[in-house]
Amino acid sequence: MNSKSQSWYKRLFAVRGMGQVVTVGFGLIVMCIVFGIINPTFFSGKNVANLLRQIAPILLIGIGQSYVLITGNIDLSIGSVVGMSCMISATMMTKGMNPWVAVLLTLMCCLIVGVVNGLLVAKCKLPPFIATLGTMTIARGVAQIVNNNYNTDAIGDRAKVFRDFFYYGKTAGVYNTVIISIVLWLVFNFLLSKTRTGRHIYAIGSNIEASKLSGVNIVATTTKAYLVSSFCSCVVGLVICATSGMGTMDAGNAYEMYAVAASVIGGVSTLGGQGILIGTVIGASIWGVLQNGLQFAGAPVAIRNIVIGAIVVISVLIDVIVRSGKLGKKSKIEP
């Protein structure tokens, strides 16, 4: 009995990055309780529904960024791809295009960014920071140019089905945005943890040289990770478009950094090789709960920013301290 429970415990923590996930998961629970005490309406059905809908887009871009971070790279183009997706889809819909055709075309445009990112980083060996800084700026430019440097008009009644699908509608009592993000999370979590590509994403983030010598296709794997990131960003752009019913050029501004924050709070290492998507869920949730909870508690935006910034630093700091303790043990010489 004892050995069985021990192995259960061991297996849980043997999963990559589970340590930090458990820590911040605990933090999340504490946070919810505190906000619930400060303002009991925090747990009201309406607020919870809203909260989940707030978390969903952060989770989606977090998934994308996590994929890229685990390969040991970074994607700065996320926010701009969100903007691009929002503007391209909205422009096409205002021109009277069928919403679903518009969605498909938007998706193709966004995925091009992912391919370019992957090739620049893995094939041309540009530093990911520089490569995606470039595509970030270009994608933002594209977002501005599609409607001649104006935000679009309202996408109109014909697009009601689009707006309901991505934001306003509910399925089984849950907002569609939440459903979409859960479904995508399940798919991407499966791909990352159960498939060969997922394994290779961890491997190249952990030791690119060893992976190359083991026959892992670095270019293909890196590009796939960037594709996931662009795909998720695209979906978030569509959600934003559905929310406001128009295309805004600065949609998604700074989202790439929110995505880094959600990933990193959830235990994804910016050095690569480490992290699990359940962590990203918790990271995104902490982000959303803080925004929502502090707003409920009447804290001004400035205070919210300060608190969230501190949380990012503290959550990673705890992990560094815990891990350096472990490292100290490991470096002991074997008898």
């Binding site: 394994r199 290779h200 992976s211 010598l213 083991s214 090789g273």
Partner: protein, 500 residues
């Protein structure tokens, strides 16, 4: 008669500025263990990297199992059943043992990884090797020796027919080495050809059938292994004639400058005791990984010490960090000039001033430009550094002149002891002589010179006294007059006997 499974003929490989392999031929039969021997830099690793497709060759032919291989790639090598265990560990620390073993060859059911199947297969391989390891353990949590065993398990899992092991035992314990040898013998029986590279000559008798000896990128000889011929093997390994001139200046030996007592720092620096006198150059010889660099770094305070005392001119100096050591007058010209010795993107003036800013700055911390220029000029003139002007990037100088800048920055501050770590690596013969002259000048000025070198002729030619290290310990000490290459190599391979 066994067939040759690998025939490498007339292999040539040139790296920028160096001919790493010059007309090397190498044959391997099935079911034999071939030891590939030679000193550091003899080209052993380059040769096996060409065989395993890591480097392309510049000339020569490779035949594997009778097929002429025009272009060898890592993938091609793998398909042919050539597996290599690299000297540096190549493991993904964040993946489990089983995940590492099957990296790049994952087993799947449809698109889903067959985690259980791989764990089971990994467990089988590990138990076949007699290693107690949980296949689901993260490799990052394992000791280096265990990681090495995983690397070997990975090679075995590929059903290798040619297995190359580059220094596989350097991180292993005696039990693990015994297990490894058992595995090697088993593989041999199964008809696998094994290339075994090791500096530990005393291991050879347990497993090796034949030896191939290389020196300076050239093939020297191939012969059946016989323990009685050990001396002959060693003389083949070191047998080069010393062509270079080593300028030697004799000085009367003066009083003791530096004394290190019972220095310990990690497992590469164990119980080091050494002395350094005025008017002598002390060379530290040994093989790669003997702990020489680590010892100099520990003395200099670049790495933390566990215990030990350092005395300078008879007084104990407490060195916790590099600043303490510089202040006391012990300085280090590190092994890797570009990485540790110079800020290659900064000017020569900046580089020389960097460790001396305390002397160059006024009270407000503003650098006194005039003093800085004077210091640079003095250093450049006294060391005869050839440069267009002191404002050019340090990285643009030739290797020899870069080395002079590395040393020059320390000489501006009246140091008492200068430690050189591989000062002549990668620089041409003429520049080497200039560095030797510089060391001799320091010696004449009464400054203690300690220098680490892997090139034996250099150690024999320049030092007055030689200390030999092996496995983090000093295994021998001698006056140069009594020293021979064979003697040094004997001490340098005096590993603690790990095999009973």
């Amino acid at each position: 008669m066994q067939e040759d499974i690998v025939r490498m003929q007339n292999i040539i490989k040139t790296f920028p500025g160096v001919k790493a392999l010059d007309d090397v031929s190498f044959y391997l039969k099935s079911g034999e263990v071939m030891a590939l021997l030679g000193e550091n830099g003899a080209g052993k690793s380059t040769l096996v990297k060409i065989l395993s497709g890591v480097y392309p060759r510049d000339g020569g032919t490779i035949e594997v199992f009778g097929d002429n291989i025009r272009e060898m790639t890592t993938q091609k090598a793998k398909d042919l059943g050539i597996a290599i265990i690299h000297q540096e560990l190549n493991m993904c620390q964040h993946l489990t043992v089983a995940e590492n073993i099957f990296l790049g060859r994952e087993r799947t059911k449809g698109m889903i990884l067959s985690e259980k199947e791989m764990n089971k297969a990994a467990a089988e391989i590990l138990s076949r090797m007699n290693i107690e390891l949980d296949p689901e353990e993260l490799v990052g949590n394992l000791a280096v020796s265990k990681q090495q065993m995983v690397e070997i398990a990975k090679a075995l899992s590929m059903n290798a027919r040619v297995l190359i092991m580059d220094e596989p035992t350097s991180a292993l314990t005696s039990k693990e080495i015994t297990d490894l040898f058992t595995i090697i013998k088993k593989l041999k029986k199964e008809g696998c050809g094994i290339v075994y590279i090791s500096h530990r000559l005393e291991e050879l008798k347990h497993i090796v059938d034949r030896v191939t000896i290389m020196r300076d990128g050239r093939f020297i000889t191939s012969m059946d292994f016989d323990q009685k011929q050990m001396d002959e093997i060693i003389s083949h390994m070191v047998g080069r004639e010393i062509k270079q001139k080593f300028p030697r200046v004799s000085c009367p030996k003066g009083k003791k400058i530096l004394e290190v007592r019972n220095l310990n720092a990690g497992h590469m620096v164990r119980d080091i005791n050494l002395e350094l006198n005025e008017g002598e150059i002390v060379g530290i010889a040994g093989l790669m990984g003997a702990g020489r660099t680590e010892t100099t770094r520990a003395i200099f305070g670049a790495d933390p010490k566990e215990s030990g005392q350092v005395f300078l001119d008879g007084k104990e100096v407490i060195i916790h960090k590099v600043e303490d050591s510089i202040k006391a007058g012990i300085v280090l010209a590190p092994e890797d000039r570009k990485k540790d010795g110079l800020c290659t993107k900064l000017s020569i003036r900046d580089n020389i001033a960097l460790p001396n800013l305390d002397m160059l700055c006024g009270k407000l911390g503003i650098v006194n430009r005039k003093k800085e220029r004077e210091m640079t000029e003095k250093t450049v003139v006294s060391l005869k550094i050839k440069l267009p002007n002191a404002e050019v990037e340090a990285g643009s100088l030739s290797g020899g002149n870069q080395q002079k800048v590395v040393v020059g920055k320390w000489l501006a501050r009246n140091s008492r002891v200068v430690i050189f770590d591989e000062p002549t690596r990668g620089i041409d013969v003429a520049a080497k002589v200039e560095i030797y002259n510089l060391m001799n000048e320091l010696k004449q000025k009464g400054i203690g010179v300690l220098f680490v070198s892997s090139e034996m002729p250099e150690v024999l030619g320049i030092s007055d006294r030689i200390i030999v290290m092996c496995d983090g310990k000093i295994t021998g000490e001698m006056m140069t007059a009594e020293a021979t290459q064979d003697l040094i190599l004997k001490y340098a391979t005096q590993f603690e006997s790990k095999i009973s």
